[in-house]
């Protein structure tokens, strides 16, 4: 009843605003300022140096790449209006837009692309290895550029879209990295205005933006608010229009607040307990696939997700997430079936279970300590005794990179490219990857082939096959894909954060 009344009042208010307020609005177009709270303040707002997601988000409002990647992984034209790929899959010819200028008036052309590529590869820049995937970049004519790779690289376009920010050669060369980071210049929808260190970043609309009609707001102000409770307060008072990284308890509390909308979506991050077949896990029962299957049956993921995350997480079926290319939606997560687990253990020759080492990081992820304890309890139920060891995350990751963690270790892996390959490589490339403790021929073959294949349909098919193989032959106890919680003021429109927690404010406006 109360809710219905509320709704009625709100609807009449909206109606009033729509009809009553309309005339006044047309007369004077209000200056629109969007205020966005970020939990960490950017280490840099130069997209080539910005280290983590929030910093990248601030930086990328000012830049463009040659191509744009949609949420579903499709690659669209951006600064390049079109491109050809040579038959051997190694050479890309990009035809650039001819009407684009950098914010400082420098023309955008083939030379700028080559310069950006040369600069991006310098090792002191955060994303140098993303630029170094291309072997060569050549100016063909003023608006044509050729980029080639040593081997066919199916991920190249996606990685370009994510990391290749085009910079103006003259300005960048003249001022150097430090000064460029203080006042970046790109071709993007927003121009840099000021960065009051640790207080705010102010951007204004680029009036000459090449995408017609965008951006829609006049100004964007980023403010850092490290504490989630304070972010929650600031969205309630209307001091900011968008906040992210809230807890589910906070999001639930905000559901009832007038003027605030809660935004929820699964992020592209998989949590898992990894097995090791390279160092500490050699000779352990977990080398037997039946044991690894048993351990997947033994853990009641749904109960974990319900009790620790309010049900706001999907159960993982692999190291891929639902939005990833080639994800097989027909795969159901391992059901909770301790009897099946005991059977499999008995088949594998461990009817009475066994003992094994297990470690988890502390302070790194929400409630992950409790998740690890729950997993320990479920494993004990089927006879597997683990001596669970918690470690400070910094030390934990050092040991993980040395492949010195116990044969069971918990962690998670996020991916921003819309495809699972970088994550798969990172976690399963064995000795060739820093944080991998697992190597298996079939998986490696699939990964190599996916990396070589340029045809999207074929790649999707390979991913699907690999997804199935890795479900039957799990190198992990798959846990969950968490959801994240954000909130906006209810007059914010077209703010669409994606699974990688990135977004493009050029579409966003206030009503």
């Amino acid at each position: 009843m109360k809710k219905a009344l509320c709704l009625l009042v709100m609807m009449s208010l909206v109606a009033f605003a729509a009809f009553g307020g309309g005339a006044a609005e047309e007369a004077v177009e209000p200056e629109q300022t969007l205020r966005v709270a970020v939990p960490t303040f950017p280490n840099s707002i130069d997209a080539s140096i910005a280290a983590e997601r929030n910093a990248q988000n601030v930086a990328w409002q000012m830049f463009d790449s040659l191509v744009f990647q949609t949420e579903t992984g499709e690659v669209e034209p951006a600064l390049a209006r079109d491109w050809d790929i040579s038959d051997d899959g190694r050479t890309y010819t990009f035809y650039l837009r001819e009407d684009v200028e950098f914010h400082n008036g420098e023309p955008f052309n083939a030379e700028a692309v080559v310069y950006s590529w040369e600069r991006g590869q310098r090792p002191e820049l955060e994303w140098s290895d993303r630029w170094a995937r291309a072997d060569d970049a050549r100016v063909i004519d003023e608006y044509t550029v050729e980029i080639s790779t040593e081997e066919p690289d199916a991920l190249l376009l996606g990685i370009m879209a994510q990391h290749w920010n085009m910079v103006p050669p003259q300005y960048t060369e003249e001022v150097g990295d430090d000064a460029f980071g203080e006042a970046p210049v790109g071709t993007g929808p927003f121009k840099f205005v000021e960065w009051v260190r640790e207080d705010r970043v102010v951007l204004e609309a680029n009036e000459n933006y090449w995408r017609e009609g965008l951006p829609r707001v006049d100004e964007v102000i980023y403010v850092p608010i490290p504490e989630a409770s304070t972010r929650m307060a600031a969205i309630q008072t209307g001091e900011v229009d968008i906040v992210n990284r809230l807890s589910f308890e906070q999001a639930e509390a905000l559901e009832d607040v007038d003027g605030v909308n809660v935004v929820t979506y699964p992020i592209d991050r998989v949590f898992y307990i990894a097995f090791n077949n390279l160092t500490t896990g050699v000779g352990e029962p977990t080398e037997d696939v039946r044991v690894r299957q048993a351990m997947n049956y033994a853990v009641d993921r749904q109960a974990i997700v319900d009790s620790l995350f309010g049900g706001y997480a999907e159960l993982a079926t692999g190291l891929m997430t639902t939005g990833n290319l080639g994800y097989d939606h027909s795969i159901e997560p391992y059901p909770y079936d301790p009897d099946r687990a005991r059977e499999l253990l008995a088949e594998a020759g461990y009817p009475d279970g066994f003992e094994i080492g297990f470690a988890a990081p502390t302070g790194a992820y929400t409630n992950f300590e409790q998740v690890a304890e729950a997993v320990q309890g479920y494993l004990r139920d089927v006879g597997i005794e683990t001596d669970l060891e918690f470690m400070e995350s910094g030390r934990y990751w050092d040991l993980e990179a040395e492949k010195a963690l116990p044969p069971l270790f918990g962690d998670s892996w996020s991916e921003r490219s819309g495809e699972a390959l970088p994550r798969l490589r990172g976690a399963l490339d064995g000795w060739d990857a820093s944080f991998s403790a697992w190597q298996e021929e079939t998986i490696t073959e699939y990964m190599d082939e996916i990396g070589r294949t340029v045809d999207q349909e074929r790649r999707a098919q390979l991913y699907t096959e690999l997804h199935n193989y890795m479900f039957e032959n799990p190198p992990f106890i798959y846990l969950y894909v968490p959801e994240t919680f954000e909130a906006t003021r209810d007059n914010v429109r077209d703010y669409n954060p994606r699974a990688a927690e990135d977004y493009f404010l050029m579409y966003t406006y206030l009503e």
Binding site: S44, D199, T230, W397, P422, S434
Partner: protein, 306 residues
């Protein structure tokens, strides 16, 4: 006095060297910064190249010599996370922290002195009850909790103050109250008990018997004596408040040193953590020195003999 000052200065300098040595080795216990500086899927070769480029592969003694040499010249290296000179990043944050600390201290003293003096001079009165109440609350209420409550009540519900940031004088009120509440409690207790003690002294009775007004007695005779104890504790509290402001600054998104400590530790930013530690230690050392000098100025009985 001069000789005393001189020897204190030497002591302080030695102390700073100790701080430099300890911070250098402590931060190196926390793990490998090259991994933090490279993306997670970076190849082992890339991480190794980064380690080499940053000089983390050199023997510890070489790194240490380089660090001490730099420190002597005021160069604390570049922040790994922010990619800028570490000490200048710290210095940029100092005004905000000093501003907040002074405001919090001002708030604490403004309430603590009258409460403590009146409470102490009239035991059992309403003033005394208030003084004891605030003394207890100040010492027991955790400041991060208080900070969140202040935000909920005064920013969200009442809308009187902004909930975060450093924008104009009004934005300092909530963080200053949250940060000043603990010292407020401590000061009230201290002033109250010191007043109680002084109250019974002969010279106070003499003052009253001369017919001096109560206000003048409290101000000139009681408070003057109480202030000696107060100065020493204010000095110490200043140092603590730099630490206490790690939470408070983070909660209110106050752009000071406290919030920077949080960021630097999370980013495992060696040079920045070192610079902050050295700066904070230097700050405390200087405060202690000033406190000792202030004693001598306030209390003619204290003399640093040669």
């Amino acid at each position: 006095m001069q000789r005393y000052l001189f020897s204190r200065l030497i002591q302080s300098a030695l102390l700073m060297v100790g701080v430099l040595v300890i911070t250098f080795f402590m931060v190196r216990l926390t793990g490998d910064p090259a991994r933090v500086m490279t993306p997670r899927d970076a190849s082992p070769e890339r991480v190794e190249a980064m380690r080499e480029a940053m000089g983390f592969n050199d023997p510890l003694i070489v790194q240490f010599t380089r660090y001490m040499g730099g420190a002597a010249r005021g160069d604390f290296g570049r922040s790994l996370h922010y990619r800028a000179p570490a000490m200048s990043l710290v210095i940029q944050r100092v005004p905000a922290t000093i501003e907040l600390t002074l405001a919090a201290m001002g708030f604490a003293l403004l309430f603590a002195i009258p409460l403590g003096v009146f409470g102490g001079s009239r035991p059992g009165s309403i003033w005394d009850t208030l003084a004891r109440g605030f003394g207890l609350l100040g010492q027991t209420v955790p400041n991060f909790w208080l900070a969140l409550m202040l935000i909920v009540v005064f920013a969200v519900d009442l809308g009187w103050f902004p909930s975060f940031g450093r924008s104009g004088p009004i934005s300092i009120v909530l963080p200053a109250v949250a940060l000043g509440f603990f010292p407020l409690g401590q000061f009230v207790r201290l002033v109250r008990s010191a007043t109680l003690e002084v109250r019974g002294e002969d010279y106070i009775r003499t003052a009253y018997s001369k017919g001096i007004e109560e206000r003048a007695v409290l101000g000139r005779h009681v408070f003057r004596n109480v202030s000696i104890t107060l100065v020493s504790i204010v000095g110490v509290q200043f140092g603590y408040m730099l630490g206490g402001s790690i939470y408070i600054e983070s909660i209110f998104s106050w752009p000071g040193i406290g919030r920077m400590i949080n960021e630097a530790v999370q980013a495992r930013d060696f040079p920045l953590v070192q610079a902050i530690a050295v700066f904070s230690a230097g700050f405390v050392v200087v405060l202690n020195l000033l406190t000792d000098v202030a004693y001598a100025l306030i209390d003619p009985r204290i003399r640093y003999e040669d």
